[in-house]
């Protein structure tokens, strides 16, 4: 038996590095390996035990202290020793209900070892392409598959490839957009950290299809582990003839490099990304011309997102039809979502298009955490919108999601319960876009700032008559006038919350009340004398000493001193602290 410790960024953050270090002191090198991210963030750190290539046990929430027990189980071949660490049947359903293509190797192979990738059939698709397919064949296969841009826009991939293929220029470039910036989205990071060769292979196939000799991966600098693993993979691929001149002894030559982006959200917009690649300030260019004709250094360039490339090798291996067999009329294949927020089981989820939101949230995600009530799900991050309970049976499909006012986006899926104030949520995203606006066009630079100020005043109980109308006016103006996708979609969180939760805005403005009791300016805390047992816990916890009372006698809060941090309510074991 051998073991693999899940070593994605999320696992490491949860303590997987320490678990690995502890195990390495107890186990011989050949028995201990790493793998990427399986996507079950809620169970990290995860340790998988394999018998040959068969997974025999998946241990979850593993602590450093569990290392000896695990090592002992391995030495004695007795898995009963780690029985209490094994994943529950219920939690296993998180994976079993998924269909994994882009994530097919994630959490299974060792991302630092190309051999592992080769063992699961890696670079087979590239070999097939270079030996049996013309670039046109490749584009045709992608066309049949119906693959669309997974970065958010959902533009048909074959179309872009074809445009770049047909464009004339001295040199063509293939660019991978790994500037994943939506708050709550991390599928691109997981793919690079867990399966970098899959990305390289997908990119090489695309480069072959469009005729590019140079490929660049634009990764945000906040992803150091992804950069490290991709650098290693590029080195391995180059050493083994998968990159460079005459790849696999064919006539096709292409090299690849990484460009670390300095962390501007707008650089996820393809023309701003190109500006940044060229060393300029990351600001969008006017389109047309499109990058397919005049992109990087004004040469024909094709840009796709990480997840898009991660599907390519699979499509080549299995055929476009196999991919197109999944999904809906409009949207084919699978899509990865980062399920976060008030969800019981959060993590990376890859499901076939056409599944309902309800299935994803309840069957895979296990519903709302801590017995809460579902309120809405924010799809597509700051460019997307929220979808209320009444629309939970909407199927995942570009058009159907678009009709709700939300978007597929890059796959952020933030679940909210009854304690989430929708105005505050919209404000969060507007603050985000305001800060991330590049400052070029007037509508986005000033318009989002003004919207964010209006939302700020509403959540502070200073909203005025006419604020909703002013917000709506600004939303429409910014959608119409902004230069790039960032600005044009920035109003979406406000538009959808206004569409589905207008009453919350009205309550803030007219009644100076926050129905979700989240906006601190509009709430107050009070201790229910009948419930308070005088345990003094709240008074001890209060950071400003605003709670008074004798031991074993009901306490009270000095409202003038209270800073509304809510700590009293969270520590009270008797539910005596009431939010009003």
């Amino acid at each position: 038996m051998r073991i693999a410790v899940g070593q994605g960024s999320c696992g490491i953050a949860a303590g997987a590095g320490k678990v690995y270090d502890a195990l390495s002191k107890l186990l011989p090198k050949e028995k201990l390996g790493i793998t990427g991210c399986i996507g079950m963030c809620f169970l990290e750190p995860i340790v998988d035990i394999y018998e040959e290539d068969r997974l025999v046990a998946r241990l979850v929430h593993v602590a450093e202290a569990d290392a000896e027990k695990i090592a002992e189980a391995l030495k004695t071949n007795d898995l009963s020793l780690v029985e209490n660490l094994k994943i529950s049947k219920e939690d296993e359903s998180f994976l079993t209900k998924q269909t994994r293509i882009a994530l097919r190797h994630c959490g299974i192979i060792n991302p630092m070892d190309m051999e592992d990738y080769i063992k699961v059939g890696g670079y087979g698709a590239l070999s097939k392409v270079l030996t049996t397919m013309s670039p046109e064949d490749v584009i045709e296969t992608i066309k049949i598959s119906g693959l669309a841009g997974r970065g958010g826009a959902g533009f048909p991939t074959w179309f872009k490839w074809n445009a770049a293929r047909n464009a004339t220029g001295d040199k063509k470039y293939l660019i991978c957009n790994a500037d994943e910036g939506d708050p709550g989205a991390f599928m691109d990071r997981a793919v690079i950290e867990s399966d970098p060769h899959n990305l390289i292979e997908g990119m090489l196939i695309a480069a072959y299809a469009i005729g590019a000799q140079e490929a660049v991966v634009y990764v945000r600098a906040e992803y150091p582990l992804a950069i490290l693993r991709l650098e290693n993979a590029i080195k391995e691929a180059r050493e083994n003839g998968f990159l460079g001149d005459h790849i696999l002894r064919s006539g096709f030559s292409c090299d690849m490099r990484i460009k670390a982006g300095a962390g501007a959200f707008v650089c996820g917009e393809e023309t701003a990304l190109i500006e940044s690649l060229e060393g300029s300030r990351g600001m969008p260019r006017l389109k047309p011309p499109f990058p397919a004709n005049a992109g990087y250094w004004q040469e024909p360039s094709n840009i796709n997102n990480v997840e898009t490339f991660a599907n390519v090798a699979w499509i080549i291996e299995n055929g476009g039809e196999a991919f197109a067999a999944m999904g809906t009329e409009d949207s084919k294949g699978t899509k990865v979502f980062a399920l976060t927020g008030k969800i019981a089981r959060g993590g990376l989820v890859e499901i076939p298009m056409g599944m309902t939101l309800r299935s994803v949230i309840y069957e895979i995600g296990g519903g709302i955490r801590d017995g809460g009530t579902f309120k809405a799900v924010q799809m597509g991050g700051p460019s997307g919108g929220c979808i209320p309970e009444a629309l939970l049976d909407t199927v995942i499909d570009y058009k159907k999601l678009g009709a709700t006012g939300a978007i597929m986006g890059s796959g952020g899926m933030v679940v909210m319960d009854e304690h989430t104030c929708m105005v505050n949520m919209a404000k969060f995203f507007l603050d985000f876009t305001t800060n991330e606006s590049c400052g070029k066009c007037v509508h986005c630079r000033i318009g989002t700032k003004r919207m964010s100020e209006i939302l700020n005043r509403i959540t502070h109980g200073e909203g005025k008559d006419g604020d909703i109308e002013l917000l709506e006016e600004l939303c429409m103006a910014i959608k119409d006038g902004a230069l790039c996708g960032l600005g044009q979609t920035a109003p979406n969180p406000v538009l959808t919350t206004l569409r589905y939760f207008r009453n919350e805005y009205e309550a803030h403005i007219n009644d100076k009340k926050c129905p979700a009791k989240e906006c601190t300016a509009l709430i107050s805390y009070r201790i229910d004398e009948n419930k308070c047992k005088g345990c003094t816990l709240c008074a001890k916890r209060c950071p400003v000493g605003a709670i008074f009372g004798e031991v074993k006698a009901p306490h009270s809060i000095d409202a003038s001193a209270c800073i509304k941090c809510g700590q009293c309510a969270s520590v009270c074991r008797f539910g005596a602290v009431v939010t009003e």
Binding site: R281, S437, G439, R445, G481
Partner: protein
Amino acid sequence: MADIQLFINDTEVTAKAGDTILAAAKEAGIEIPTLCYDESVKVYGACGLCLVEAEGVPKLLRACSSKVSKGMRVSTQTPRVEKARRIALELLMGAHQGDCLGPCTLNCPAGTDAQGYVKKISEGDFHGAIEIIKEKLPLPASIGRVCPHPCETVCRRKLVEEPISIAFLKAFAADEDLKENTYRAVAHAATGKKVAIIGGGPAGLTAAYFLRLEGHSVTIFDAMPKMGGMLRYGIPEYRLPKAVLDREIEEIVQYGVELKNNVRIGSDITLSQLQADFDAVLIAIGAWKSMPMGVDGEELSGVIPGIELLRRVALGEKPAIGKRVAVCGGGNTAMDACRTAVRLGAEEVYVVYRRTRAEMPAEQIEIEEAMEEGVTFKFLTNPAEIIGEDGKVKEIKLQVMELGAPDASGRRSPVPVEGCFETLPVDSVIMAIGQKVDITGMDGVETNKRGILAADERSFRTNLPNVFAVGDATNRGASIAIAAIGEANKAARVIDGFLMGMEIPYRAPIVSEQTLTEENFKDRDKMPRAKMPCRSPEERKHDFCEINLGFSKEAVMEEAKRCLSCGCHDYHDCKLIYYADKYGIDTKRMAGENERHEKEQKLLCIERDQNKCVLCNLCVRVCDEVAQKGILGLVGRGFQTVIRPEFNTAQTIECCKNCMKCVQACPTGALKML
């Protein structure tokens, strides 16, 4: 390149393939607004003003970057397009900080370009100053002497030490101009249209001047023997020598204005007759009736309305007012009356005012000078009764007052102290508590609730078809001369439009302003305000000769140099103001929190004011693409984005050859050549 046909606003237009919509429209003479486009540099597409609609395209297109195509149908003025542009302009204006016009100009009811003429005066160019002044005000020597100068009240120099002495500077320039080689405006050719102006006061004279310059024939009808209105009959000689006023009226008359004095409308000629004889009639009759006090004894001999006293003195009479005089009121007329009383030989002159000195509406200098001349101020007293003997004033009973709660105007209301009275033995009582409009003869003109003529505030039209009205006789009633002049100036433009068959309501210029404090000016050197030399109280109180001795030329120029030049140097060329005005936007609608930036002169010959920058990036692009220097760059992100010289080093300055291309490219006043 091949020619292609397309339609812009339903007009067929020919353009070259590869042209942008903006270029094609320009070629066809159709203006599409833009702040960030310039032919010399690459297209940028930031300002969002050039948005247009194209048939079959769901999105709005940026005309600067969208290429024309065959048969394309472009609309540049649809409601959707206009709305998007308006919001872009409103957003820009809401983030645009600075003074388009200086506070002095903004606060002047006539909108005189005080900053402009003060600048000319500082250069000793009095002729140039008068040219600027007379664009708005044809009576500068008179007004400069008597105006309570709202311009100085808001002058920002007071944040350093004291305001500029703007009014006296104006009077000086005007006096110089009247001496020799007097300024002559160019009058338009005769239009054949006739305008009657009722009332030859500051408003009537101003309207006559501007209407005459437009080529209309103008006749002024006035009930008094000479023109000048309240300037002549309401302001004492010692403040405004009538010789000065006469000279300025002569200047207006020489353009060919006809004067008809001693004509009273209603008795000598009717308003309807004027309506019939003239193409337009402007009523500028002022407010010539004194407000009664409503106390017992008001009918007694020896009770004289203040403006009547001033008028009689101006007409050369010497009214017998006795030795002891009480003047009731706290405004400028009360000051004029009490000081006139001193000059008429009264030995004890009292000013009865129901509040305290702090609340007095009269000019501070007037109060001070009256005190110097021996006037006694009875603050916190109010006339309760005028007691007579044989039908003649004997004494005045005063109710003692105290200050209560602030009223609507913010001033504390005086309230009587019950049972507390004081009695002054006096020979006469002068009432100066306010003026009323005498509408006798203005038959058929609608009045408001207060019995004042009602005129539209923007078009100055009355209910009668060709009758307009301005000044003290209208709407809010009596105010200061410059306010009446301001209305007359605007009304002249409206009447000109009316006569020439156009409807031109007056529209306020669009400007932005800022809130500054002493803190912003703490580095400025203190330069005290020039003090007007004047005759001693002992000397002046015995005659009606002018009190002020006047400034020297050197003193005037020094004083003018204190001006901070608040208004934007680029006001007349600013594209942002041009479009904002054109689209009639509300500059405050999209206001919000803005960053405040300091002006900076790192490039030695160029001053940069980020507060006025619209981030069109033209300076950056011109420096890079045209001047090939690349000295400027964008720093920061989103709303915090600013333009800065790269690296801010000595090499940067060295590199800048002051080609000024950036300054020329800037659509606003953010860049200034030093």
